[in-house]
Symmetry: C2
Subunit: 158 residues, 2 copies
């Protein structure tokens, strides 16, 4: 099994927790903990980027070439993880969903339309306003997402 950190630092602890939660979740639903599922979770964890199913599949093939993981398994596992709220999917303008671990603090996205880079941010004032708006309309908010599109600092100077 690939594991990025073998020394016991914070990052490893965080991953161990995530992994344990995932194992419990599987057990609770009579599902099995397989190598493929672990590799997928770990790859998502170790990637700073927002991955498409295909991108994730490629990454896994590079990192663990012996395990011939099928794209179908990637899709199936992502659906499972999304249902379980372990990951969140984002569907931006163009096409195809991207996935990210959802365990992190809630955040929104800045998307550069030139280089495609995604930057995350959190703004408490916006979060507050969202609650105010839904309260006013009698709407029970379960989730929300916000994307700002434009040109990032780097792409402006190039």
């Amino acid at each position: 099994m690939p594991r990025v950190n073998t020394n016991f630092n914070d990052r490893t602890v965080e991953y161990e927790q995530l992994l344990n939660n995932f194992k419990q979740l599987l057990k609770k639903n009579n599902l099995k903990f397989t190598i493929q599922r672990e590799v997928i979770l770990e790859t998502l964890y170790n990637s700073d980027e927002h991955l498409t199913p295909e991108g994730l599949h490629h990454l896994i093939q590079e990192k663990v070439p012996d395990l011939k993981t099928g794209i179908a398994t990637v899709y199936r596992t992502l659906s499972l993880l999304e249902e379980s709220n372990v990951v969140t999917s984002l569907s931006f303008g163009a096409q195809g969903k991207k996935y990210e671990l959802g365990a992190k603090e809630h955040h929104d996205h800045l998307i550069c339309t030139i280089c495609g880079q995604i930057t995350e941010f959190v703004d408490n004032e916006i979060e507050r306003r969202q609650h105010a708006i839904t309260d006013e309309l009698g709407f029970t908010m379960s989730d929300h997402s916000m994307q700002i599109y434009g040109i990032c600092k780097e792409c402006q100077t190039n």
Copy 2:
């Protein structure tokens, strides 16, 4: 040509403007003003809902059955309208894009995960914060979108 209003009220005026803008846009780009393009624009205008390409196609077939509009034309026209910023596409969780006229004031969306209803809203405080955030990061904002998911008032009582 179908035309919902023949009397000269505000709504008709608004549509006439939209139509004229569209015609100018076509002329400027050496494109042709066709019946199909008018019907598509008009159907979008007269629909309060956010339409999928397929939904739009169905609506048109119902309303103008003699004109055998092909789904390909709907897709092609929507792309054209989107490029020209006449319509905006929204791609929410599930799949498939939905389109709405983009000429209206900028607004965000509340999406009921039970009945699928989409409610629009505008919040100036949020708009202000978005500008503040992008300014701070040196990001040039071109557009943004926000969706809040949850359960609408009606679905809560049912």
